[in-house]
Symmetry: C2
Subunit: 304 residues, 2 copies
């Protein structure tokens, strides 16, 4: 027999944990399903300086452990398993996982998104040591230093412009010969004296001792190889929302994101989405937490 919960939450990052805190405090029987580490991708952040309430900063691991402890205190149950599908059956929602299936009155999807990686030598080793996937989070660590941004879309250029307030120089490395971004953003980027461009260029390796010091680059047209000394490298080459198992269940946009209304509701009554998995999410821990709480409040209204 499938076990029943009033709310099943998929994903154990700040969005899911905050949703679970509120649904549990509302005395709705609640199960959170996480496939990896409770905490989500923020557990990789050594120092989170921008979650409001922690002036000295806090590690992503500790922050999400506190959130988990808090939600668990009010009754949230946690299961480590991979969610493989959601089935709608006679008004019921069945959440299928690698461990068991669960029947829920409401489902909150908070599985986050993964930052696309280059997959080059040095990238993994130096993550958090000069390799970053979030300019808003980590820009302040690079005051007065030269840094690189990899990518050529809106996000990359927005991040490059953000970084000019901190870095001595921002070198945008793009594998094509032009940007994929709006004209106005391009013009602003070209007018910015601190931003330089390396066109038709890819990063082949990230090098350093303890922290990032140098990039090995290659021009894809001429084949020329060269190096660039930087203190940091920001990857801005896209995201992949964790929604593969939702195809055919919920409408997803071309990139795989879920569109919600302001109540975090999806097109299916009783299924909510929160955090980075949503189209147009601000992708910050506290906005994800806020999303989760909003979803929880409307899930309660839906159920009662």
């Amino acid at each position: 027999m499938n076990k029943e919960y009033e709310v099943v939450i998929i994903g154990g990052g700040p969005a899911g944990l905050s949703a679970g805190l509120y649904t549990s405090r509302a005395r709705l029987s609640s199960l959170l399903i996480e496939r990896g580490l409770v905490g989500g991708q923020i557990v990789n952040a050594e120092l989170v300086e921008n979650y409001p309430g922690f002036p000295e900063g806090i590690s992503g691991l500790e922050l999400t452990q506190l959130m988990h402890q808090q939600a668990t205190k009010y009754g949230l149950e946690t299961l480590l398993a991979e969610t493989t599908g959601i089935e709608l059956k006679e008004g019921q929602k069945v959440v299928k996982t690698t461990e068991a299936n669960f029947i829920a009155k409401a489902v909150i999807i908070a599985g986050g998104s993964e930052r696309a990686k280059l997959g080059i030598p040095g990238e993994k080793e130096f993550t958090g040591k000069g390799v970053s996937y979030c300019a808003t989070c980590d820009a302040a660590f690079f005051k007065g230093e030269p840094i690189a941004v990899v990518g050529g879309g809106d996000a990359a250029i927005t991040e490059a412009r953000h970084l000019t307030r901190f870095a001595s120089k921002v070198i945008v490395i793009h594998r094509r010969h032009q940007l994929r971004t709006s004209r106005i953003l391009q013009e602003k980027a070209f007018a910015e004296p601190k931003i330089e461009f390396l066109w038709n260029t890819i990063v082949e390796e990230i090098k350093g001792e303890e922290v990032v010091q140098q990039l090995s680059l290659r021009n894809v047209i001429t084949g020329e190889k060269f190096t660039l000394d930087v203190a940091g490298i920001f990857m801005s080459i896209g995201f992949k929302p964790n929604t593969a198992y939702l195809k055919g269940v919920l409408p997803l946009d071309a990139a795989g994101y879920i569109t919600t209304n302001e109540k975090m509701g999806t097109e299916i009554p009783g299924i909510f989405a929160a955090g980075d998995i949503r189209y147009n999410s601000a992708q910050q821990a506290v906005t994800a937490a806020g999303d989760g709480v909003t979803a929880a409040i409307y899930a309660e209204i839906f159920i009662r």
Copy 2:
């Protein structure tokens, strides 16, 4: 001469403080204007149990002091003054206060809303000691005890139903003879065995020793006076957003709230709104904080 800032934030609760944290970290010169105590209305909460990251709970005062300290660390300036107006002049935004006027490139309005009060004896004295204005926040303090809810609208009935999970009995006290709420919500409330109604009734006084113990009531039709023993009383008689000075500047709804899009933008480019002052806000500290961060991120994009 008017002093210039890149961002002026009006209101020093969780929304404004979180916005200021992000704009300051983005190295935008930022001024936060607060008319009363930095922290906003949550400073009255003795124990906030539902802000994600604090498993043991934290007082509203301490939480917002931490947020203020954090934002100040990155350069946020704070001014204690009352905002009296916003003027749009030749593409500039002039924020007028009782202390001075300021020119801003972007303005984030985060002035919150005030919970309507009954204004009866005992209400102020017992606030936080049995008198509450937020069922989501305080319901868990009343496990197994009889409690009253004052009001007859959607919010009152939603809160009454939420409270049935905790209280032994929920008595809804309404000054009219019927609810002002949707039919479906009414039917659900009437079907709930734990909810009782006192129609045509007003609360005249709240009594107790240290904490709330008894209400003095009066039937407005018969004039009959009587008492009711309760452990708590939840006021759900509406909110008043702090937007009086914005009439003629921004479109406000009938109740005075500001409507925003998902980027927290208002109808005027460069003016954003965040937190409880928004139409349809979830009115929780962490959703307000999330709103503030979203507004800050889009204010930066607007400015750059």
